[in-house]
């Protein structure tokens, strides 16, 4: 008789419904907490590609302090970084290396294309050694225009990326 009461199908349905309720209760706050941790500690890889690296360096300086957003340029290995800021022109020689750097980073990872050269090739659109934008090499999250973009523009780009991360689903 007890066997008939506790049938396997009913148990499955009960466990499934309990699981749904638990996930709905925890998913949102857990997702919010994980995203909060990710967006306030974006660590960029130390890869200087071309001239926009000067304005990225100025953004890390005392006047346009980007460290208050958690964006510390971690000068260790790239296995602990989660942001690639492609600073400037990518040439045909540099493109395979950029792809290797992107592949070696652990998930989740984000890409900011900084400067007109990284978006469409910029001023060097007709040169023989320049890629017309990095969209064909790595997937880009935020485009920051300018030649070079002012440090305030770069900070606005980082804040846009933070808005995007807030909306992301965790899992």
């Amino acid at each position: 008789m007890q066997k008939e009461l506790i049938s396997s199908h009913a148990t499955n349905v009960f466990v499934g419904k309990l699981g749904d309720v638990l996930i709905k209760a925890i998913d949102k706050p857990l997702g919010y907490a994980l995203n909060w941790g990710r967006l306030w500690s974006l660590w960029p890889v130390h890869i200087e590609t071309a001239c926009c690296s000067v304005e990225f360096g100025a953004a890390s300086g005392p006047r346009y302090d980007v460290e208050r957003f958690g964006i510390i340029e971690a000068f260790g290995s790239l296995r602990q970084c989660d942001l690639v800021v492609v600073q400037g022109t990518i040439t045909r020689k540099m493109a395979p290396r950029l792809r290797m750097v992107y592949d070696q980073m652990p998930d989740p990872k984000y890409v900011i294309a900084m400067g007109a050269c990284a978006i469409t090739g910029g001023l060097y659109f007709d040169s023989y050694n320049v890629l017309p934008g990095i969209d064909g090499v790595i997937p880009v999250d935020v485009y920051v225009p300018g030649c070079p973009p002012r440090p305030e523009t770069l900070i606005q780009g980082c804040m846009l990326l933070q808005e995007k991360i807030k909306r992301m689903k965790v899992r």
Binding site: T49, V54, G61, L78, T91, K93, R97, S127, Y128, N129
Partner: protein, 377 residues
């Protein structure tokens, strides 16, 4: 004897002591270039520089644009010292077209050129601090450099890549009250620079890491054809501003800074002493500048040169920067060749790094005042 190695490190042959390392384009101790280094234990056996990661073909692109259209892209090899790379271009084009530059424009050019030298040298010192692990040496120059960038922004409208020099003068006049503002700001800037002496150059850690490493003798510096601060730290007194004065440098009062030791410490000190001289030059130029006058000679549309060539050179932050322009009567130049200080100093890298310890590599390599984007053009 087969040992399992972590991926990415190769031995020349099994049992061989020599290991090949890539100090590659992504490395906390390198810029936008690669050094292929062979090490034996801790000592570098050979070094093979591999530039070209930012080679954008500036010289080829210059053949398809006319003299004025060439200005924006020719200043990008070194964006924070952009006035100094446009300077020889403007001087050479003025030779080809036979233009006269007004007096006030010459003084403004000198002031902008010296401010750019300070901006470049402070960025270079900041990155030197990162390579040596001295983070104050990153923050202080980055902050002090903003004073000069403010002045350049007031003159030209942009923080970097000013596109301010045109053949015939400068693009526009400085704003009103610029002279007093510049004097006040340069006074404060000079006071801040004098504090660098104690914190950076008398710092025992910095001295230990850089003194005695990468010694370049005087004969070698001449034979290898080095230029700029690398040459002047090895005891050769050569500064294009003194030896072949252009614009109004023969009218201004400054001295060439020369040190004799030729090691990395001297190479890191000469640009700092040059910056103090730059402050003197700016103050002197502000006093002697004519109070009013035109700042630009108007060009006719589509200016053409004859069948001639011109070679002019200028002292930039990295050394003597030369521009060789061949014209054949068309509005576009036939050939433009940029001879940059960084490319000429590149030959020192395999020469000096042989026999050094691997830990000394960043100290020696960055002290050669090498900006990879400029060397690749």
């Amino acid at each position: 004897m087969t040992t399992s190695l972590p991926p990415g490190i190769q031995l020349e042959k099994a049992d061989d002591r020599i290991m090949t390392l890539n100090v590659g384009p992504q490395h906390p101790g390198s810029g936008h270039m690669r050094l292929i280094i062979k090490v034996d234990g801790d000592y570098i056996v050979s070094c093979d520089p591999d530039p070209g990661y930012v080679h954008r073909g500036e010289e080829k692109m210059a053949e398809y644009r006319n003299y004025i259209q060439n200005i924006p892209h020719l200043e990008r090899p070194i964006i924070h010292d952009s006035c100094n790379i446009l300077y020889p271009y403007c001087l050479a084009v003025e030779d080809l077209l036979g233009l006269e530059v007004p007096e006030r424009a010459k003084y403004i050019r000198v002031i902008a050129s010296e401010l750019n030298r300070c901006v470049y040298t402070l960025y270079w010192l900041a990155i030197y601090g990162i390579f040596l692990g001295h983070s104050t040496m990153f923050m202080w120059p980055m902050g002090d450099r903003e004073f000069c960038i403010d002045l350049l922004e007031a003159m030209s409208g942009a923080r970097v890549t000013h596109a301010y020099f045109v053949p015939g003068g400068v693009r526009n006049d400085v704003p009103a009250n610029f002279e007093e503002r510049c004097l006040r700001q340069i006074d404060y800037f000079e006071k801040r620079l004098k504090q660098y002496e104690d914190i950076f150059y008398q710092n025992p850690v910095l001295k230990q890491r850089t003194e005695g490493t990468g010694v370049l003798s005087r004969m070698d510096a001449i034979r290898l054809g080095t230029t700029g601060s690398v040459l002047r730290s090895a005891g050769v007194d050569f500064d294009v501003r003194k030896k072949e004065p252009y614009d109004v440098y023969d009218n201004l009062d400054f001295q060439t800074q020369v040190l004799k030791e030729g090691d990395s410490y001297a190479r890191s000190r000469v640009p700092y002493l040059d910056m103090l001289e730059s402050c003197r030059i700016i103050k002197d130029a502000l006093k002697k500048m004519p109070k009013s006058g035109s700042v630009r000679t108007k060009l006719k549309p589509n200016p053409k040169g004859g069948n001639e060539e011109a070679y002019r050179r200028v002292e930039s932050g990295r050394g003597s920067l030369g521009m060789y322009i061949v014209s054949d009567g068309k509005p576009e130049p036939y050939r433009v060749k940029i001879s940059v200080g960084s490319f000429r100093n590149l030959i020192c890298m395999p020469y000096l790094l042989k026999g050094e310890k691997l830990g000394n590599m960043p100290a020696v390599y960055w002290s050669l005042n090498y900006w990879p984007v400029e060397a690749d053009r």
